[in-house]
Symmetry: C2
């Protein structure tokens, strides 16, 4: 075994990029650095009046790559036990958000780097959360339903406005000059390794299995991407699109190539070190957290990703309602399952912000607050952010399960799994004249845990055992109150990943495999990963009450979220949203 | 016509008593005084650990009678245009809360005035909101359902724990010594006139039609009270109860007798002036507000009472789900209909208190608030009471109907009409990550207005036209925002009673009829009553959107509140309450 060797994991998030240098034998994280994007709002190019619009300038990725890697090397150099870290980095792994496609020119450069398109948001990266392509998404779904096989069957049965081809088709309509100038379209996660290995032929840029399988309908069942006719049936704009794309994909443990001289010099790393194929953040995070057969990894943040791996032989049908199942998208040799909840931390933050509302809107109108300047109010709002969580949690911990009489549906941002329906909304029932904020907050946490349980139940229905849960992400790190509720609701021991940077750690593991240090990523996980000491064990009494509450949650879930119960009932949330849209537009 | 003559209206509320002196020809309110009760919590004798328990010492009524009347006379004497007011008062009308029965001895005195029972709460007045008799109420309902006719048919089909016989039966079980010492049981509203006319025979105390009809199953359809066998079937404790009660009742325009010498001296009034029969506050309030055929009077406070009058000939069946329909209970010669919502202002106050929660629980933990003493926090909470309403209303007015996407059920304290079910709870649907407090508050107001509309629809189904609405009570006086929403939701012009004291004014009108000044209370209403200038007219555009939202409200109402839709669905709120009870008891 090599000692004192490192790999570099680079994790491109929505607003920033993090580089992490990890000791490949101990997993010690010896240096890290976060670079915040500089343009637009927190790095996102918005369009006034269009909440669906979200672009990112690819120059952020170039700047962020240099700044974060150099910053991490600098940080590692201050570590007492680390020698010349840059010399001893043997591999690089990269993850990004997705689907975040970038139109590129014949030299593999983003079109937004050219003089013609330099300030054109359509030529930039179409950030994952850009939803401008909803009409196109519906067309892909409709076309897929009219053909056999249904090309969306392994990605939840509904093609999303967030995904690769929806965005490309929308581009062809709103900016045909950009579309026709594009020699190819490359996911952000594939663009970065291509850049580092110096690939200038856009069609030869190596494409990752994860992005292709989850967002572009790439599947071995039909020999890769859907055939050209499928796309031409959706829109003649897409004639010839397949020739600009790819027929092969790499799992993230595979080496794309060696670091090119130009980037080796820019970053101060050795030329030729292994660069692994790119993957998505959640999938890398699952690996970094310690995913293995029988373990559900929950990456908990504003939303959640719920990830599992299943031996390919044991699953030959598509699981209904999950976001995707793709061979090799997480751990090579396994089918990667991706499910998720469209809002979790976002729901808590929404409630926290409503709780802080009076500090901004009421307090300054009282005699006590009348001398509050706008600056002081802003400072108070900022300062009270964590206090609100702390007090709600402290008081909420004293409320026993069932005692508030409250039950909520966690659909404030729609439902990703298992209903795959954005046209839903949050609900709370059981309110009375004594209901207090800490009870509402607890009910919201319980609702997200019930939502998590629905996902687990769906996976279990297909004969896949879930023995325990590993959580990671900001929420998992800081909230024993929340974690215990999750353990009690799901009835599973909940463990917490040791690393706070599981995405960057996951790709650092892939870098170590791509460099040949480990034969398989499972070996890298064993040496480089780990868990915190704490395990949240389910409490049997609480579990019994939550079983009863979950039964009621399921009843509301099915009544408002499916047509199984009644078309009449199902339509309540839809009609409210329709009225909201009409009255807001009026 | 006599000029410069007055009547006295005395309104006994839950926590205080108000006397009002009114000019019988102009309706001018020349003097008023409020006396707060002195014992227990705001006049209510509570029992630690038993939220159902609520008694009141009848001595409060004696003290309050003297203090309020003397106070009103004193206030009137300061009025520039009023001469010797006491000399010119020609009649007295009285209303009280109810059902508030008082056990009395052979001399018609409350048992709690005797040495034997002087500190015994069971010998006091059983305040309307005492719910200790829930088991007995269920027995009366069950017995009524097994007989023909159903003696509860004109009081909503369910006998309440708040009502006369439930309380008497409970008394017989928990305090048999008090029960057997009682020569009769007298409603507070009947006790007061009896006292003023010097009636010492407990069985001869005149009983009002209103209390008898609404709370004691007294109805001409079966010749008065239900027969003795009915009560004996419920419990042998009630053998002989009928002989302690009454066979005749008076409408509130009838003179019970002349003011006795003792009380004339105590109050400084002329001996022999007319004392009208007693009635309940809501019914008196409807008269004071200007109730007439085709006009719904809404008395809006913490809860609401919705009152109408219908010519007796036009209604020969019981309206399903309303609280009561009693010939002469409001205006003699008409059937008085009483319906209501169990929480309205209480729901707004609940939300206001939750909005103030952070001022108490978060602010003191910030650097800005760390020097806040407990006294300052209490002052801040008190001071911000109205500010919260003001800000929520001001911001909420800018939200157009339908625009928030929210819809609520106003069942935070159960549903009185039309479901007659306390085992329900509040619900809100349509929440998203942008939902703000002013939108929630608006949705709560809309929900109470939808609840009002359900009551109106039920009455209309029986062929009773509702042309307009007169509101009175604190909420109606102060909230144009609320009133406009009610007009838009109900599609009716909403008027506001001129007087802020409609209950006391209503009984002052009855006093004028009992004194012979007017032949009918309608004449007294015409001369003594009136409306404010403002009328809230429904806005057609808003009304159209509210029609759509009301359709959805009705769907949720029926799904959660009735078995029509599904037993499975109906049970969600019930089971949550059951779990709440079990886990709270655990």
């Amino acid at each position: 075994m090599e000692k004192g060797k490192y790999t570099l994991g680079i994790d491109f998030g929505t607003n920033s990029v993090r580089a992490l240098i990890v000791d490949i034998t101990t997993g010690e994280e010896v240096g890290t650095f976060v670079h915040e994007y500089a343009r637009g709002k927190d790095g996102i190019i918005e369009k006034p009046g269009d909440p669906n619009f979200a672009r990112q300038h690819p120059i952020e990725y170039i700047e962020g790559l240099s700044a974060s890697v150099k910053g991490a090397i600098q940080a590692a150099s201050e570590h007492p036990a680390v020698g010349n870290v840059a010399e001893n980095i043997i591999g690089i792994g990269i993850d990004t958000t997705g689907s975040t496609p970038i139109p590129v020119d014949r030299a593999g450069q983003p079109l937004s780097f050219s003089e013609n398109f330099k300030d054109n948001p359509n030529a930039m990266a179409w950030l994952w959360k850009d939803h401008t392509s909803f009409a196109e998404a519906a067309q892909f779904t409709e076309q897929a339903k009219s053909e056999a096989p249904d090309y969306t069957k392994y990605c939840g049965g509904t093609y999303s406005s967030e995904w690769f081809f929806s965005k490309i088709l929308h581009l062809s309509r709103v900016a045909p000059e950009v579309f026709s100038a594009a020699a190819s379209f490359v996911e952000h996660c594939d663009f970065m390794p291509g850049l580092l290995v110096g690939q200038t032929d856009p069609v030869k840029i190596v494409r990752g299995r994860c992005s292709a399988g989850h967002k572009a309908m790439f599947n071995a069942a039909w020999g890769g991407l859907p055939p050209q006719e499928f796309f031409s049936h959706v829109d003649r704009n897409l004639d010839g699109i397949i020739s600009k794309l790819y027929t092969e994909t790499y799992t993230a443990d595979k080496k794309v190539g060696g670091l090119c001289r130009e980037w080796a010099e820019k970053l101060g790393l050795r030329e030729g070190i292994a660069v692994a194929a790119g993957t998505f953040d959640a999938h890398a995070g699952a690996v970094g957290a310690g995913i293995r057969e029988g373990t559900l990894v929950k990456i908990m943040g504003t939303s959640t990703c719920d990830m599992m791996i299943v031996p390919a032989a044991s699953l030959n049908i598509a699981i209904k309602g999950i976001c995707g199942q793709v061979d090799g998208s997480i751990v090579p040799g396994y089918i990667g399952l991706e499910a998720g909840q469209s809002a979790v931390g976002d729901i808590y933050a929404w409630y926290r912000d409503d709780v802080r509302w009076p500090l901004e809107n009421i307090l300054p109108k009282t005699s006590f607050g009348q001398d509050l300047t706008a600056e002081k109010v802003a400072a108070l709002i900022k300062e009270s952010k964590d206090t609100v969580y702390d007090v709600l949690s402290e008081k909420g911990e004293r409320v026993r399960p069932g005692q508030s009489g409250l039950l909520a549906l966690d659909w404030h941002n729609g439902n990703r799994t298992i209903l795959v329906d954005p046209n839903l909304s949050g609900l709370i029932v059981g309110l009375n004249l004594q209901t207090r904020p800490e009870e509402v907050f607890r009910a919201l946490i319980e609702a997200t845990a019930f939502g998590a349980r629905v996902i687990m139940d769906r996976i279990s229905e297909y004969g896949i055992a879930i023995n325990d849960i590993i959580t990671c992400g900001g929420l998992a790190e800081k909230n024993p109150y929340l974690m215990q509720i999750y353990a009690d609701v799901t009835g599973r021991p909940i463990k917490v990943s040791r690393s706070a940077q599981t995405c960057a750690l996951g790709v650092a593991m892939f870098g170590a495999v791509a460099a040949g240090h480990y034969a398989k990523v499972e070996e890298a996980q064993k040496e480089m990963g780990g868990l915190k000491d704490i395990v949240y064990q389910p409490n049997a009494d609480n579990r019994a009450i939550y079983d009863r509450l979950f039964n009621l949650y399921r009843r509301l879930h099915d009544a408002f979220g499916t047509k199984d119960f009644s078309e009449n009932h199902f339509s309540v949330m839809k009609e409210l949203l329709e009225i909201k849209r009409q009255t807001t537009a009026a």
